[in-house]
Every structure is written in structure tokens, then in C-alpha cells.
């Protein structure tokens, strides 16, 4: 329905007047065909509603006139068709559904773990009337962050071959995802409190991993290196190529020292046959390479293969840094440069020294976008930048030098973080990375920041009384609930929402099709976990009635029994008795055996159904009596009869058949089996029955015509014999 989404202007200015910009492919309408299989004419009546997930439920109604004439029962009222709309998570990068589910499932356990810790700590601090939790808490948050981070993909490179190819400059790594890049940024700034002093160096590493992501929108150092690597195979003397020197200076500017040194060693002067006449030149190249590999870095340690010398302590670092720069200056002024005959080499090596000395102009021309320039500043101009305020000021400066028309989503995120603007960070997260990101990132944002905590956890009137944090979790839970494969993890997020979580969880559970036994069992389990007894009882009732309606009486009774639903069990009992009355008196009890077993002992809720149990026992003993003349069995049968007649749950309509069945007991040879009071009881019941017959709602059972009178005669005879006996 494109007409509803955009308004077409004949002048062609439709783009500018649209409030929300649609990407071009969403403008092409997708046509779905409905297969309703109805014969025309179809009345122009349709009802459209959302079904589960991306399905649209379309109900096609027949026009009322035709309904009356059509005899075909299949299409009496019309037909309901479900239409599955294609379409993925457009706003997020994780559009591969299987990968997305893996992340969704994987993040459940870290999230639940952290929530448990949080609740435990809150309980503890309440107990102690203090909030001593900062140190421990930041440790847990970091743990959580690392776990989530590892889910988003591995940073490690693919296994390298044993023989290293000298011409492979860039390592082959798995395509990084911007989701992971964003998560790492948040981790650097919010979660990793221990390494706060080394944020600049962490950002250097970060860019080394994710610079390729910027290549989609803007040229980058990574892109330049990729291009150069492709050319490299065809180049004979690299030092004559400007691209070679450009690649080196760019890589140096952003601090990829290992790549720089590797490239420098490709210099022609290293070749054995050249060594003799290019000795000075080679010495200079090597001197620069050594200086680069000795660059002091203020950080705890470097990963394998990365170059530089680490200084943990700031004063040590300053000393080393001064010394290093002095060495560069000394080399810069050295007399050997005059003896270097290769022009390209001399000039470009000097340029490299300028980069290392922090020449703003050289750095700016070696880098492409402002984040790269920013990193270059950290490395060569102001390595002591600390505090978000000064970092933000530096970023502003770099942006002025390298302006971008439409900043990349990661750039926007960096600005938001540096600007200490939680709202902007939240907005960027939800806009660029989707509901998963924001639901999980709020834990990082609030870690250790009271301001952010207030912002995120304050209950807001305009959000219906919930906090921002809760509203994002609810949104994420909705996304999870909308898919058949993920709904079962939504409860974990819902239950962490104090205000509306439980309510929405109940709705979610009610919406599940519980007549599928697996869904029902899952439902019951979730209810048990979160103490939602009434919800699970309702689910069991629905399932019970469903089974009952489809003729599976045993399963119906079972679930209603589980739900403790006496009202419905009684209704079922009445229906079952109709059935029993017809079949039980003549046939064997085999079929009923299982159901009666299921009903179990008397302690369980069985409502009127417990009658069946006693009836079975009575029938059994009567059977034995008929098999042979055993006074003992007959006595037992008589007792069972009295029990049944006394029991209020025995339906009235069974009274006469029961008595009629036991005629043999009443006319027992030898001595009467029932005493006076017992016989009187039965006579009273018979009397009651005669009175009840006069009532309009009496149900007549199909008995032989003389049944009532023969029972009455038998009872009277028995009474006489019993009186005589006593």
C-alpha cells in the first residue's frame, strides 16, 4: 500500500516534503497474493489484524446472501488466511536471523546473572544500611560486558600459515561488526574502570580493529592499505612508488607500528645485491624502523606482534618520551641525509620523522577522517590527554580539520560519549544498533555514574510511569515475544522490569497457543519460575477444555484436575455419566480403567468423577458374584452398593440402574445381605426418585418397563426378611 506511506507529488519534490525518509527499496511495493480458495462472488468485506510475528491475519467474509444459498459447509462464513510478510530487522545490522538469535540467546545468561547480582547486592546494602558496592559492582559489570562482547564475534585473526608471506601487510581477519565496535566503545568508556588512565591507547587499538568499518562511507587508512596491498604484487622497486610512502605514513599516523616496520623492510636497499652501494640509505631506513619500534606507549602491556615499549607509570613514560623525541630530532639533523642519494627515500623518511614529532600538517595529510586524526593526536601530540572534557575539546578540533558531511554512526556515538551526554548516547544506540543494544547497554551506562542512573531509572510520567531503562527493556522484550523462536527468553527481560514487567509477562503467556502440549509445558515452567500460579492454572484450564472438546477426555480431565477446576470437572462428569450409563452396565470396564487410574486417590480434586472410582469397584465385586455363588463377595458388593447410594456425588440417574443391577443381591438366597436400616435407606432413595420424576428437569434413563416395580418388590421382600432375622 504505497499510497498510505508516501504522498506523490507530480513535481518530484516528494523527498523533501516527507517527514520520515524511506530508503529507496522500501518505496517499491511488494505484492502478496492471498490464497483464500473461496468461490466468487466474495463480498467486499475483509478484516485485517496482526497475527504472531510478521504475519497478517486476513479474514475474508462471504456476503450474507450467498451464505444462505451455498450448501457447501466448508465455506459457510468465509475464510481466515494468514499472510507472512517478509522483512527483517531493518534498523539493525544483525539482519541474519540465525546470527541474531544466537546473540539474543547468548546474552540471556550474562544479563540474568548481572540482574541476580544486582538484586543480591541491593538486599545486602539494605541490610547494612550502606551502599558499599562500587568496587565489586564495577567488577561484575566488566565481567558482563566482556561476556557480551565475546558473543558479538571474535577479535582474533584467522590462523596464519607457518611461512609468513612478506608481501601480506594486512592480516586476514573476520569482517568486524559495527555492533561489536560500538559495544567496545561503551566498554572502554563506561565499564572498564581499571584502565581508565589508558583510554587513548585503548582507542588506538579500537581504531586498528574497526577502521575498516568507516571505509563504507569515507576513505580511510585501512582502505588505502587494502588498495596498496593489491598493487604490491606488481611493484618491483617499492621505494619509487608514492603509494608505498603514503601507505607507510598513513599507517604510522594511526599507530599501526608493526605494519609500518614490515613495509619499511620491503625497501629495496635491504636486498643483498643492493647493500653495497646503498649502505647509508639502508642505514637510515633501519634507523627510522628501529625508532618506530621503540616508541614509548603509556599502557600496561601490548598484545603479541605489536610494537612499542610499554610504561605503566606516567613519570617513567615522560622520561622515555622525551628521550625518544630527542633521538628523533638528532636523527633529523644527522649529516647522513646528505649522503643519501635516493630522493624519494630521503624526503619520505624525513616526513615520517615529522609525523613522529607531531607535525599537525603532516598528520592531517596522512589521515583521512577525523577519528584517525584524533588518534594521531593522541599518539604524537598530546599523549597525556585525560578527562572527557579535554578529549571532547580535542575531538571538536579534529572535526573542524576534517569535516564530514554525514557522520558515520560510530562517529556519532563517539561524540555522544565524549560530550558526556547520556541522552545522545542512548539515542544513537537505539537509532543505529537496535533494541538489543540499548536493552543491554544501559547496564554499562549506569555503572558508576549517578547522573546517568538518575536519568535512566527515574520514573517518567510521559512514559506511562516507567523509567527509560524499563521502557527500553520492554521494547526489547516485545521484539523477542514477536517471534516463535525467541518468545521464551522474553520473560527474563520482562521480570527485570518492576512496573509493567509482570503484567506484560502474563499477557505474553496468555497469548501462547497452549493447546500445543510443548508450549503448555513451557508455559507452566515459566509460571513456576516466577510464581504465576493463576496464569498457569488458566493455561491448564484452556488446554483441558481444548482436549475435552476434541474428544480426548482423559487429557481434558487430567489438565482440569491439575488446574483444580471443580466447576468444569463437574460439568465433564455429568457428560461422562451419560456415556457411562450407556456403556458401563454391559461392556467391560477396560476402556475406563485408564481414566479411573488417572483420577487417582480420593485426596485429589476429581469433583463428581470420584463416583466412577466407586462405581468401578462395585461393578467388579458384582462381577465376581455373578461368576460364582460366594457369600463373601456378595456381602462386599452389598457394602459397596450402600456406600455408593449414601455418597452425595452419586448422580440420581444412576440410582435405579444400580439397584436394578443388584437385584440378585437383594434376592440373595440364604440370608438377607442388607439389614433393616440399609434397606430403609434404599427404599428412601427409591421414594426420592419417584418424587423427582415429577419434576420437569428429570432425565429418564432407558430401563426395562418393570424395573422400578421389580426393585421395589425386591426391597420390600428383603426388608421383610431382614426384620425376621433381627
Amino acid at each position: 500500500m504505497p499510497g498510505l506511506l508516501t504522498v506523490y507529488h507530480p513535481s518530484g519534490h516528494d523527498e523533501s516534503s516527507a517527514l520520515v525518509q524511506f530508503s529507496s527499496d522500501s518505496n517499491t511495493p511488494i505484492v502478496y497474493s492471498l490464497h483464500h480458495g473461496l468461490k466468487s462472488p466474495i463480498a467486499p468485506r475483509l478484516s485485517i489484524s496482526w497475527s504472531r510475528g510478521n504475519s497478517l491475519r486476513v479474514s475474508v467474509f462471504r456476503s450474507p446472501e450467498t451464505t444462505e444459498t451455498v450448501l457447501d459447509e466448508v465455506e459457510v462464513g468465509g475464510k481466515v488466511v494468514e499472510l507472512k510478510l517478509s522483512g527483517e530487522y531493518v534498523d539493525s545490522e544483525i539482519n541474519d536471523a540465525a546470527r541474531w538469535r544466537r546473540i539474543a540467546y547468548g546474552s540471556v545468561s550474562p544479563f540474568a546473572h548481572l540482574q541476580n547480582k544486582k538484586n543480591a547486592m541491593a538486599a545486602l546494602s539494605e541490610l547494612r544500611h550502606s551502599a558499599p558496592y562500587d568496587v565489586d559492582w564495577s567488577k561484575y559489570v566488566l565481567e558482563y560486558s566482556k561476556e557480551i562482547n565475546s558473543l558479538l564475534g571474535s577479535r582474533g585473526s584467522s590462523p596464519t600459515s607457518l611461512i609468513e608471506d612478506p608481501k601480506t601487510v594486512l592480516e586476514n581477519v573476520e569482517e568486524p561488526s559495527s555492533l561489536k565496535a560500538a559495544w567496545e566503545l561503551l566498554e572502554i568508556f563506561y565499564a572498564d574502570k581499571q584502565s581508565q588512565a589508558w583510554i587513548p591507547e585503548q582507542l588506538v587499538d579500537w581504531l586498528a580493529d574497526y577502521d575498516s568499518l568507516f571505509s563504507e562511507q569515507v576513505p580511510s587508512v585501512h582502505l588505502r592499505l587494502v588498495e596498496f596491498q593489491a598493487e604490491l604484487i606488481n611493484i618491483q622497486a617499492v621505494e619509487d612508488e608514492p603509494a608505498y610512502w603514503q601507505a607507510i605514513s598513513s599507517a604510522l599516523a594511526v599507530g599501526w607500528l608493526d605494519i609500518v616496520v614490515k613495509l619499511l623492510r620491503l625497501h629495496g636497499s635491504y636486498q643483498l645485491n643492493q647493500l653495497g652501494n646503498r649502505e647509508t640509505e639502508n642505514g637510515l631506513v633501519e634507523a627510522v624502523a628501529v625508532l618506530i619500534s621503540k616508541m614509548p606507549r603509556m599502557r600496561a602491556h601490548l598484545p603479541d606482534g605489536k610494537l612499542g615499549e610499554c610504561y605503566y607509570n606516567k613519570s617513567d613514560f615522560i622520561k622515555a618520551w622525551e628521550k625518544w623525541r630527542a633521538q628523533i630530532t638528532k636523527l633529523d639533523c644527522s649529516a647522513f641525509w646528505l649522503q643519501c642519494s635516493h630522493n624519494h627515500t630521503r624526503e619520505n623518511l624525513k616526513l615520517l620523522l615529522q609525523i613522529m614529532l607531531g607535525n599537525t600538517g603532516t598528520l592531517s595529510s596522512a589521515t583521512f577522517h577525523w577519528v584517525e586524526l584524533y588518534i594521531a593526536h593522541f599518539l604524537y601530540i598530546s599523549p597525556f590527554t585525560s578527562g572527557l572534557e579535554s578529549m571532547h575539546a580535542l575531538a571538536q578540533k579534529c572535526m573542524q580539520l576534517k569535516p564530514t558531511s554525514s557522520p558515520h554512526k560510530l562517529m556519532r556515538l563517539i561524540i555522544g560519549i565524549l560530550g558526556e551526554n547520556t541522552e545522545v548516547v542512548l539515542a544513537e544506540c537505539s537509532r543505529s544498533f537496535g533494541s538489543w543494544m540499548i536493552a543491554h547497554a544501559t547496564e554499562l551506562l549506569t555503572a558508576g555514574s549517578i547522573q546517568a542512573e538518575i536519568l535512566l531509572k527515574e520514573e517518567r510520567h510521559n512514559l506511562g510511569g516507567v523509567s527509560i531503562e524499563e521502557s527500553h527493556r520492554l521494547v526489547y522484550a516485545q521484539v523477542l515475544s514477536s517471534h516463535a523462536l525467541t518468545w521464551q527468553i522474553a520473560p527474563i527481560y520482562l521480570i527485570s522490569c518492576v512496573k509493567h514487567g509482570v503484567g506484560l509477562l502474563e499477557i505474553l503467556l496468555y497469548k501462547q497457543p497452549v493447546y500445543h502440549s510443548q508450549v503448555l509445558l513451557k508455559n507452566i515452567e515459566i509460571c513456576r519460575l516466577y510464581d504465576l500460579d493463576s496464569v498457569s492454572a488458566n493455561a491448564m484450564k484452556i488446554a483441558g477444555v481444548h482436549h475435552w472438546k476434541h474428544g480426548r477426555n482423559g487429557a481434558g480431565v487430567f489438565w482440569l484436575q491439575q488446574a483444580g477446576d471443580e466447576v468444569r470437572l463437574n460439568r465433564i462428569a455429568q457428560k461422562l455419566f451419560d456415556f457411562v450409563g450407556k456403556s458401563i452396565s454391559d461392556e467391560s470396564f477396560e476402556q475406563w480403567e485408564g481414566l479411573i487410574e488417572l483420577l487417582g486417590s480420593e485426596s485429589r480434586t476429581a469433583a463428581g468423577l470420584e463416583f466412577l472410582h466407586k462405581y468401578r469397584d462395585f461393578k467388579k465385586s458384582l462381577q465376581q458374584v455373578q461368576d460364582g455363588i460366594l457369600t463373601d463377595a456378595a456381602r462386599k458388593a452389598g457394602e459397596a452398593l450402600i456406600l455408593l447410594m449414601k455418597n452425595p456425588s452419586t448422580p440420581q440417574r444412576f440410582w435405579l440402574p444400580l439397584l436394578y443391577d443388584s437385584l440378585k443381591l437383594l434376592n440373595w438366597q440364604g440370608r438377607p445381605l442388607l439389614n433393616v436400616s440399609q434397606t430403609n435407606l434404599l427404599l428412601n432413595k427409591l421414594q426420592e426418585l419417584s418424587v423427582a420424576r415429577l419434576r420437569p428437569d428429570f432425565v429418564e434413563v432407558g430401563m426395562p418397563a418393570g424395573a422400578l416395580s421389580s426393585v421395589r418388590v425386591a426391597l420390600a421382600t428383603n426388608l421383610g426378611r431382614a426384620i425376621l432375622e433381627e
Binding site: 540465525a98 480426548r552 476402556q591 485408564g594
Partner: protein, 318 residues
Amino acid sequence: MATETLKQFHRLPQSTYVDALRFLPPLSAFDRYVVVASFNSDSDETSIEIHALNPSTPPILTLQSSFTLSSRISSLKVAQKSLQNPLIAASTFAGSLHVLFPNPIDVSFESEVSIPEKTLHLGPITCLDLQENGSACVSVGEDGRVNLISVGDSGLDYRRIFDSKGLVSYTASRWASPTEFATGGLGNSLQWWDQRRPGGPVSQFKGNWSQGAASGVVHSIDIHPSRKHTCLAGGSYGTVFAWDLRRPQQPIVLSGIDAGEPMSSSSISESEVWEVQYDTFMSASNRANISSERVLPVMICSEDGILAVIKQGCHLQS
């Protein structure tokens, strides 16, 4: 009670819902194949797929062949006639039953025979079991019917053994011998059937469970070929119990909330136990060391993601 944790296991995430899976009997010394009943919820497609398992670290599954069905699979079993090709039997929630014969060379599906829905059962087939040699199959359903399907060269033939007309629902079945089998159902009940004595179950087990365990459902049964008198069952609330035919009223509870004596046993899981199996990798000599009074070690898997081996009195878990 000692609990050890298993160190080595691999997750192999799949993009579709895996309803069931089995190993195919080895066709040669080198190949290992897995039969997967998969359901794609986006396209509503059900298929039976055969994957080759490459035992590298981590193991890799490679799809070899697939067969599309119209309804989701409720139960999947594999068997092999002596020295012949293996066969795969699957039942669906719509009530149809399919038997597939994979080609032993390239595991493509050569032929299929099936019984359409609404023939064997009204509604879903909850469980089926193939005899070890693949010659016969027993199917049970919520409608209370028990059917015996013979798998012959000419096709499938079926016979109704019992019909409770919905008064009893069955949720699990398992062969014990060529003539005997066990079924399980609601309320943690078990039934023992013998084809030589038709007309109904030969023996019924309905232990005197307390309220909690009586509300369970049996999901899986296993019977060890060397100890046919014991029927092992797993079901709701982490219940795993054995039923000894020689002492029919007293269940041996291996795990679950209803242990009878609360201190003697405990529960590994509180969730649905979907499958129980005797630990078949245990050597015969080891088995001989366990007295016939004790239950052999049992492997289980449950809804909350627990794989465990339970020995009577202790368990090993992953």
C-alpha cells in the same frame, strides 16, 4: 552425592528449529551421519535432513540431503535391518507417518512410504518407536489409540491394537522385545503391552505419587536389552524413574521432586526431561559389576539445557 562436570562439549548452532535428531547407523568406518528433523518457522517448512558429521574441533555438520514434509515432526527414530540399509521413521503433529530409506552410498533419499494423517490417529502422533530390526513400529497418540505398523517390502501395513476412545492419552512408547512394548502417559503412568495377550495393557503402573509428581507427563521411555523387566521413564519436573515389572507398585526414583524419602534422592533439573537413555557406551564388564537390583547409568537431556548421566545415588552432569 558426587557431581562432576563434563569438560568437552560443542555447541553447533542451527538456523532452524531442531525438533529431533538421531545418529544414523554407521554406513562405513569413516562416515558418521546425523538425521535432523528441522523446522523453519519463517517459511513454515519441515524437513528431514541428513548431515555428515566431521569430527574436527569444533565439529562441522554438512548437509547431505533433505526431504520435505508437510507438518512438524513429533518423533523420529532410526533402525537398521540386519546388514541392510538403515531406515528412518518419523511421525508428525498432523498425524501422518513416514518411513524413509536413505541410499547407503550418498545418503540421498531413495524412497519414502507413508500413511496419511487421520488414518492412524485423530490428531497428532505423540510418539513412535521402531523395532531394532526396523520391521515394525508402534505409534501412540493423545487420542488413546495404539497402532502397530509393519514395515514390509511392499509398503506399510497397520493394525489397531487398542483404542481408549480418548479416555487415556499416550505420550511415549518403546519396544521391549519383538512382542512386548511399553507406553507412557499423563500422571506419570506407564503401561506394559504384550501382543500375545490382546485387548488391553497387560500391566499398568500408577505409583502412589504425591500431588507434584502425579501431575507429570512421561516424555520418554527406555528399556535395556539385557534387563527387560525394568522400564526407565523421564518426564515433567525433572522426574526420572524406573519401574520394575517384578515390583510394579514401587517406582525407583532416580531424580525428581517426588523421591518418597526426601533425603535419598535429589533433582538434577526441575524442567521437562525430554529424553532418557541407558548409557550404551558402558562396557559389558562394567555393567556386570552393577547388581541387577540397581538401575544402570542413565543419560538424560532436559528443557533447561541439562545433559547429565545419572547413576543410582549420584550423578555426573554437564
